[in-house]
Symmetry: C2
Subunit: 903 residues, 2 copies
Amino acid sequence: MAKWVYAFGGGFAEGGLADRDLIGGKGAGLAEMSALGLPVPPGFTLSTEIGRLYLASGHVFPDGLADEVDGALAAVGRIAGRRFGDARDPLLVSVRSGAAVSMPGMMDTVLNLGLNDETVEGLARVSGDRRFAFDSYRRFIQMYGHVVLGLDHGLFEEKLEDYKLARGLVLDGELAAEDWQAVSDLFKGLVIEETDAAFPQAPTAQLWGAIRAVISSWNNPRAVAYRRMNAIAGDAGTAVTVQAMVFGNLGETSATGVAFTRNPSTGEKILWGEFLPNAQGEDVVAGTRTPQDLTERARQETGSEAASLESLMPEAFAAFSAVADRLERHHRDMLDLEFTIERGRLWMLQVRPAKRTIRAALRSAVEMAGEGLISRAEAVARIEPRTLDQLLHPTIDPENGADLFARGLPASPGAASGAVVFTPDEAELARTQGRKVILVRVETSPEDVHGMHAARGILTTRGGMTSHAAVVARGMGKPCVSGAGGIRVDFKAGTMTAGGRTIRRGDTITIDGGTGQVLIGAVPLREPELSGDFATLMRWADDFRTLKIRTNVDTPADARAARSFGAEGIGLCRTEHMFFDQRRIAVVREMILAETPAARADALARLLPMQRTDFASLFEIMSGLPVTVRLLDPPLHEFLPTGDAEIEELSAAMGIPPARIRARSEALAEANPMLGHRGVRLAISFPEIVEMQIRAILEAALDVGEASGRPVELEIMVPLVASKAELDLIYQRIRAAEAQVVRLHGRAPRYELGTMIELPRAALAAGDLARSASFFSFGTNDLTQTTFGISRDDAAPFLNAYLALGLMPSDPFATLDETGVGELIRIATERGRAVRPGLKIGVCGEHGGDPASIRFFAGLDFDYVSCSPFRVPVARLAAAQAALARAGITGAGLPASAEAPAV
Amino acid sequence: MAKWVYAFGGGFAEGGLADRDLIGGKGAGLAEMSALGLPVPPGFTLSTEIGRLYLASGHVFPDGLADEVDGALAAVGRIAGRRFGDARDPLLVSVRSGAAVSMPGMMDTVLNLGLNDETVEGLARVSGDRRFAFDSYRRFIQMYGHVVLGLDHGLFEEKLEDYKLARGLVLDGELAAEDWQAVSDLFKGLVIEETDAAFPQAPTAQLWGAIRAVISSWNNPRAVAYRRMNAIAGDAGTAVTVQAMVFGNLGETSATGVAFTRNPSTGEKILWGEFLPNAQGEDVVAGTRTPQDLTERARQETGSEAASLESLMPEAFAAFSAVADRLERHHRDMLDLEFTIERGRLWMLQVRPAKRTIRAALRSAVEMAGEGLISRAEAVARIEPRTLDQLLHPTIDPENGADLFARGLPASPGAASGAVVFTPDEAELARTQGRKVILVRVETSPEDVHGMHAARGILTTRGGMTSHAAVVARGMGKPCVSGAGGIRVDFKAGTMTAGGRTIRRGDTITIDGGTGQVLIGAVPLREPELSGDFATLMRWADDFRTLKIRTNVDTPADARAARSFGAEGIGLCRTEHMFFDQRRIAVVREMILAETPAARADALARLLPMQRTDFASLFEIMSGLPVTVRLLDPPLHEFLPTGDAEIEELSAAMGIPPARIRARSEALAEANPMLGHRGVRLAISFPEIVEMQIRAILEAALDVGEASGRPVELEIMVPLVASKAELDLIYQRIRAAEAQVVRLHGRAPRYELGTMIELPRAALAAGDLARSASFFSFGTNDLTQTTFGISRDDAAPFLNAYLALGLMPSDPFATLDETGVGELIRIATERGRAVRPGLKIGVCGEHGGDPASIRFFAGLDFDYVSCSPFRVPVARLAAAQAALARAGITGAGLPASAEAPAV
């Protein structure tokens, strides 16, 4: 016969920690503590299978379950020394949910179950506290009425308020035993009024009603929403734990509390928590009384006048301290505990891994490794890589109140304050004047990049997490809030409005790109700290990983930042970003608008020294580390001005009629620029641009290599390649440009030639491409766009709906789609290596900084991933975890969430 | 030792027809004729391997070749009874190129080789014609001087003209033997002047010079360009045939001529050709004398007064007739022959398959099958499917002179005349007034479709072979010339200008979409004829094919045309095309601009009966054949007006402020609409549109099925699907709409649900998709776009360069790219069938009408291809050929070109 009920208590337990899926997190923790001989009120758990069967069968329990429950309940009674339903000395129980994955507060609980008009008298007698007994009874009726019978809480509160009003009572504490008895009667009357049935008096009927309600609460809207937000499967179902009640509200030697084995904010190894004397758990949560500190030290630090548990109940405290210590050593992790002290006796009610801040996660992991509690590998495996992002940027000090103006998407982490400006030119002017500004745009385009560089942060009212603003800001490591649709910008008036309030040009705001908040005024920020535990853990991570971490940068500032974060080279240098510099864009435009080869050559000749200088700086900073330079990629129309004013300006500067500029712009315009005249197609149409770029790259490498004595490890790659024929033609032109460098300088630096793989066809033709290319760099942004047929710029209106409807597990531009895009990558990797065994393979799309994607790339034995500078630490850690996972070491089961503890 | 030289002559030959690759087409033909015992002047062929070795080695011949040539030359002498270089009775030879694939006139030839100051006297003596001997000598010097020594023809012509002028001579015929001798001397002097070396007198030196020159002419610019245009490999090289000269210019009993075994224009079985008495081959080509008819019948038909060969030299004619007949029976094909009659004796100089018109190809194939010369399968295999296009449309009568205004791309075949209009509304107005017009646009968009329907033909000044105009016009079977970049349109003035000439609104022009010509005035047209040989051959083709041919149509007129061309169902009905109808677009716009679900529902309710009528007509016409309906695909902004005038109009009609229309348009605008909010994504965002479409489809099918007693074979498919989750959601909505139909009507028709495969991800996830979809339809247009990352709308600027540079073998939007797109199709087909063995698979992209692509689809055992109506016959034939090719029956080696014969 199937087993559905798992008992625990009295130093014994069926099941333990390993059985979370079967008996839920709560049940597993209680079973484990019970088996360890710790003081746990006896109880039993109905398995998650029962939960699933019940929901799937149309609310029917399997035959035999009732017998199992009866048996388990009798066993609980034997241990507790009381019988369920015994009118003289009743056993009361709690009925709680417990899913495999913690969903705190999302499902329902019933306490004090087993009370009725008879047993309440028994409880009064045995406890010697009639007021306690009737208070418990009315609480039970209210809770049961709400959870099981579906009545509104407010109805009960009203009755209680009416009662108090009629008698001139204000605080609950003023009600005596008789009052609570009267209230209980009123509540029972309410149940009859509302349900046309009496409040169930039979304890067994109460029990089954509660079990059914708790199981069904798996599908309440709150729980469904939580699962969707946290990507928890909807068909796992919940277990139900039925446990003997203990009471923290049985007078001054009773108490109830919660504790963490270490400080969940800082990670410091000190018992940390709070308690309430003479109270039940719900009082702590309700917040009507102020909880007191657990330890004397904490009391002194907070300057509280209320006694600590340590001083108030030294014996119980000592017992709890010992239990906490034993549990942490047993679980080898920082824990979140719940306990009750009933007339001086300690009872443990819950144990689970503690939610903690990233700082606490780092410190506890490093210190536990120091204490020998866990290995360094386990310490590394326990940190969720994404959470590192919070450490690398200034953040809003959560201690400070803030005035929320609007909310957008958390597009690029970090917080920044500054005066509002509405154009990139204003931003640039402000920088030259030493003023800090936040650039506000509807959306950004490459023409805004100089303004984005000049600003402290970027706020857009349109565009998603992968809009131009978001991608560029992340690349720059600058805070960005995107798609703040509630804000309306009036550029002419120089104002923005949201929720009826208006901010003017020059007013100060603060944006938090980690949360999407836009705040009024300058909010105090907390600066990042990259030494200490962070540095230690990253060093350990580096010892484990094999994947190299490079960075996608185009500017010296970004390159320096990336090296400080541990980048081991540049995996993507986008040469076009250099073109957008204010001083250069004019020459670039001349080059594009040139009507003769001679005019174009002239403009290119002026660009050459500029590009050479750019490359030289990057090569110097990277000092012998590999640098991958990508040839010009975007369609030329991206460089041309579009607004009338800008066209007039360019016209005046170049002495070309505006109409001709407009005509050329229109001639270059494309219906689908993403699939247009760009990448290698430009290199084929405009050989002279390739020639200039190659000269600039090779000459810079030559100079830096000779000046520094360290040869530049140079890699040149061609974007948007679809076939070997394209690659061969460009390689031929590159070799020709090299020959020119040799003619001019007598020599040329060594370099490797590779290709981007960013089109499905390139992935399929990878065997061919590998005959010519000595390395592959996967451009997963474009590859995702073409594989899915989704433009990142246009995806927002439907992609959000897709995610909400569960049609996609995650945004494919954030986390690699393994089924489609991943398969093309696998195919390309296999075919490329089959032809050229030593083929170097890396990735330079946004996915290079995404932990789940990095695990995938590591699984294919990539040589490196390349990501934006601020993602480098994330990638280092994720790469280490990928290597550890292959060796069987994971942080699973002990989630170190970034969420601050709820208490 | 390798063999490089292949001899023929005297009833013997080394090699034959099967050796075209080795000894070239010319050499193979001569060898074959010689082996058949036909009168062929003896000679030998240097293999193509020699050509390749010579060019690859830097112009060096392998050791031993000279000996082989000497031996072969001696053998020729023995058969001819003359020795090469013999001063008394010299053997003269011709040296000609001969590639495996015919490249007529592209490479060089030297005749009369072996003449020098001594042998010319011997020739004079033996021939008894001193004038002939010195005329031959001067011709040789000129030809050799040009081909081998690189001198300009003009230099020789000048000398000759000066000589004639000085002596008052006008015609060449007036020059006597002495004159030609003097001219020979002048020519030799010219050679010394220009080359600083005497004209080579040693026949062996002459021979090797000529061989080198002929081999090298493989790489002359003319030949290179020809190969590029005709997709002939550049590394095949040419063979060289050295053959004893025979002379058609040895008096009145000599002649030279060319002939076809059947009429190359009509295919009629009658010897057809022309000759010149007393002339050499080059005289026929030069066109200075009018050639005479071969047969009496032809002479009578043309009304020529010059005698026919049949009457002039009856014996030689009879001999030639017999040879021609024997050769046709031997080759089992219509042939192109060259012959010379030397003093009454017939010599055959060339045999090759005849170039012929498509009419001649059809008639000769059908008649040869009737004669039992070839099988029906071979007849079917011999017709190039593309050429059928010419038969299905009116064409410009080539007999008529025409005034060329400009030239564009041959975007959609057929010719049409009409008055020029510049807007779709003018076109529509003209139709209601019964006027024929040609719609001229810079480029077209979906808003122009009603005007395209109303016009007789479409001319655009921008856009390629796969632009909107081209694709839509082909779909409609309407003539279209696209991308006529030389024309400048002035819409305000209502004029268009090209080459300094201006055409005004209302002026009549004629366009030929088969050639890209734009002609001034109304040029007479030749109407298509689909019966007779065409019908016979198509009937035969249908017997051989297994692939079904469906059609892509949206209107009743197209559906009827497609059935008349033999379509076996509709493979793609684009429901959105129905939306563009003038009467409906307003309602569609209301639906899109609706600001409440109720307003949208109202507009949809008005669209429902319209769509139902549309579907009902198509179902009726298809009368029980399968019909595949695709749900709405294009992004909604395509339906909104863009011009101010149109917006004002819509604003007035709908009572919505223009600003709101503009705002909605802008909100819907996309950076890359091809990768945007379209296809299944629309169906997900706007369930009410799906609901309306499904109701319209099912109700129409119900009505037609019951009225006709023939149930509609209905297939519904979802566009732009990337994952099974999308498909399942839409299927669920379709089932819900079906349930609604059942509620309303008590029943619903049967239908199948399938998916388009037009994204790489869909191809990779095909196994998943096949779990839900019961058929696949490959949308190869979109699949090509995403696989290559190339937008068809934007490809022209670089795709043409790609084709010119040889970076792509062909336009991937015209002929399927088998390496990339084809592999995805293969993967999808395998995975889909692995999951669902009976999975129905078809293709509905443009490639469904391309013969090479059809061969690929047939190879994967597709169930059907679907193409535009006018491509249906092409597809039927191509499908038959694909089936025959798998059985080993091809038309290869006997190309039936559409090109008219050059003579």
